[in-house]
Amino acid sequence: MSSNVITIQGLEVQEKPWVDTLHEWVTTVDHKRLGILYIVYALVFLLFGGIEAIVIRIQLMHSHNNFVSPQVFNRMFTMHGTTMIFFVAMPILFGFANYLVPLMIGARDMAFPRLNAFSFWLSALGGFLLYFSVVGANGLYGAGDAPDVGWWAYAPLTARAFSPGHSTDYWTLALLVSGFGSIGTAINIIATVLCLRCPGMKLSRMPLLVWLNLVMAGMVLIAITPLSAAQIMLLIDRYLGGHFFDAQAGGSAVLWMHFFWIFGHPEVYVLIIPCFAFMSEIIPVFSRKPIFGYPVMVAATVCIGFVSLSVWAHHMFTVGMNSYANSFFTITTMAVGVPTGIKIFNWIGTMWGGRIQFRTPMLFCIGFLFQFLIAGLTGIMMAAAPFDWQLSLSYFVVAHFHYVIVGGILFALFAAFYYWYPKITGRMLSERLGKWHFWLFLIGFHLTFDVMHIPGLLGMPRRIYTYEPGRGWDTLNLIVSIGAFIQAIAILVFVWNLISSYFNGAKAGNDPWDAWTLEWSTSSPPPAYNFATVPVVASRRPLWDLKHPEDPDNLYE
């Protein structure tokens, strides 16, 4: 589709001074550049969060270790959790959504380009505030450094009396500000999908990635806002002397837990649904088959969106709710497994009988399928309230949710990187380095997180900075830490691949994977205007129709 790019004959492009380039990037409102900004920003924070994880693992490598003090350990796990969720996973997924959604629906840009830029810079400010606390949080009291209240910041630990200084304030403001950024982006995604689709792109013909990001954005609207509201309440408590979470004045610490998890659990689905979206685009292309059960996939996603809003209190079984609440949240939590199971079934159905190409993106997808399934199974185990009473706040829980976030979300993200990097930069990522990255990361991941379940079952609580020898935890923790180092090496291979392929990678061309969605019809990287002529589509796979005019998809849909 070379005609989708306008070329002007005899036009000489001169090298711009770097200040101009920088100025362009800072003031850009282009969805592709903002997408890249989101992704690069998230990768920087991924390194921060990764270093914090490594510090945690060094400290826990053997018993009675004193690599860091207990205070520093608290800061490390707080910053690790907060960073990874709010400043790595969210922005990186928003980055991909920003980049891909307009291209996939044949639009020129997002519905509100300036709101888009504003949202990104709000998120960026949030991350800056969080890390500025390391130097700025001392305040008048000379206490506290980085936030150390845990990523869920339970009351009354966040009260002035227990968190003097300003570290908790930085944490609150960082989440509040980036939350507003997320809401802006969510509004933008929904308006883009509903209002800017190219002619012929009915809702029933949208690529699944667009559908799933639409659901994700809808969930952000109602899931992130409770957190913002709770943060405002916390600020009122800390600055205006309010009593929302002040047990001394009749306030309730449990109310904070409810508000936090009303956000916290749907948040997991806000993160995983875009990853389902990556799966749903990548698996069909490398199986050389259209997605199996398109309408069911959409229905299952919407279903997950709704059910996941009513499962939050499974994080609170140990608080002591009544038996009706326990049963309700057990049932709803288990019910989420049904639509999720349908999805896994459909991805396998897509691969079944296909001519599977084991390229790096597909490898990560297959890794995702297995690991996400196991993560789901331990999730079902913990959904049962009595089982949760035994293992809540143990390393079993830590292993479970890292299985979701690393084994699921991160693997899907790597797949997305290998799949769309050629579109974004015009260069292929190295397959050789990609395979190294995949196998190293796979081995490291399983060493760390398979083994981590066992100390949890043996009773090792989470968030302890060290432990007694002779409990049988030493060897297991050593293996977990070794796995973490292998993962770190794999990440370095990945980063090296990103950098070296940018300069030396093979030229990608418009459509290196022989794919079917609209973003592959324009050049790599796409021009600022995306499409020279507005595309018109007649089926879910417009590029298939172009390549096979004798047998277009719309005959069968």
Partner: protein
């Protein structure tokens, strides 16, 4: 694989999608509703849990007049939009100004009530749970009224400068949608704070 190939597909007749402004405002309203829900839940959860006085029954007075002001401003903003669609600009400006006055009156009413509560009853945001939840809930709403009034005033200034025409009617409608939301929230807040909460 060229432009010729794309034109194989017929351009569907009458391809119009929703207006992005309306969709975005609807989304914002959904998000804001969730924020208000959390504050309402906190208010209801803490009803009667204050360890010290004053209680809502002792100090709150139902602001019927100011509520009527706010609710009627929804009607005026609606007809202001309709006037603009018909390009009847004097009527638009008059109704729009009336909306601002009614909204301003409501805000004045909130201010007067707060003044009375603070100076006559000594109820501040840090007095007790009732004070904390009451001021944050009603204050959140008053904040939205203020934001709305600022936006309405900007449109009024543009209108007086002769910059608002009938082709901007749908943009004005988006603002009106926000204003209706602010009113609708007040109906809920009013019910919870002044009827259920006493």
């Amino acid at each position: 694989m060229s432009a010729a190939a794309t034109s194989v597909v017929e351009i569907p007749q009458a391809w119009t999608l929703l207006y992005r402004g309306k969709v975005a405002m609807a989304c914002l309203i959904i998000a804001e509703s969730a924020i208000f829900t959390i504050f309402l839940v906190a208010y209801l959860f803490y009803l009667g849990k204050s360890l010290t006085g004053p209680t809502p029954r002792e100090v709150l007075e139902t602001p019927i007049f100011f509520t009527i002001c706010l609710l009627s401003s929804s009607i005026t903003v609606h007809f202001a939009g309709k006037s603009l669609e018909r390009n009847n600009r004097p009527a638009f400006l008059a109704l729009w100004s009336l909306t601002i006055i009614l909204g301003g009156l409501f805000l004045f009413g909130t201010g007067r009530e707060w003044h009375r509560l603070i100076y006559e009853h000594g109820l501040t945001i840090s007095t007790n749970l009732f004070g904390t939840t009451y001021y944050s809930l009603v204050g959140l709403h008053a904040f939205h009224v203020s934001a709305g009034l600022i936006m309405l005033t900007v449109v009024l200034i543009c209108g007086l400068a002769g910059r608002v025409h009938d082709d901007q009617a749908r943009r004005v409608d988006v603002l009106a949608l926000y204003w209706h939301f602010v009113d609708a929230v007040w109906v809920v807040v009013f019910t919870v704070v002044y009827i259920v909460g006493r």
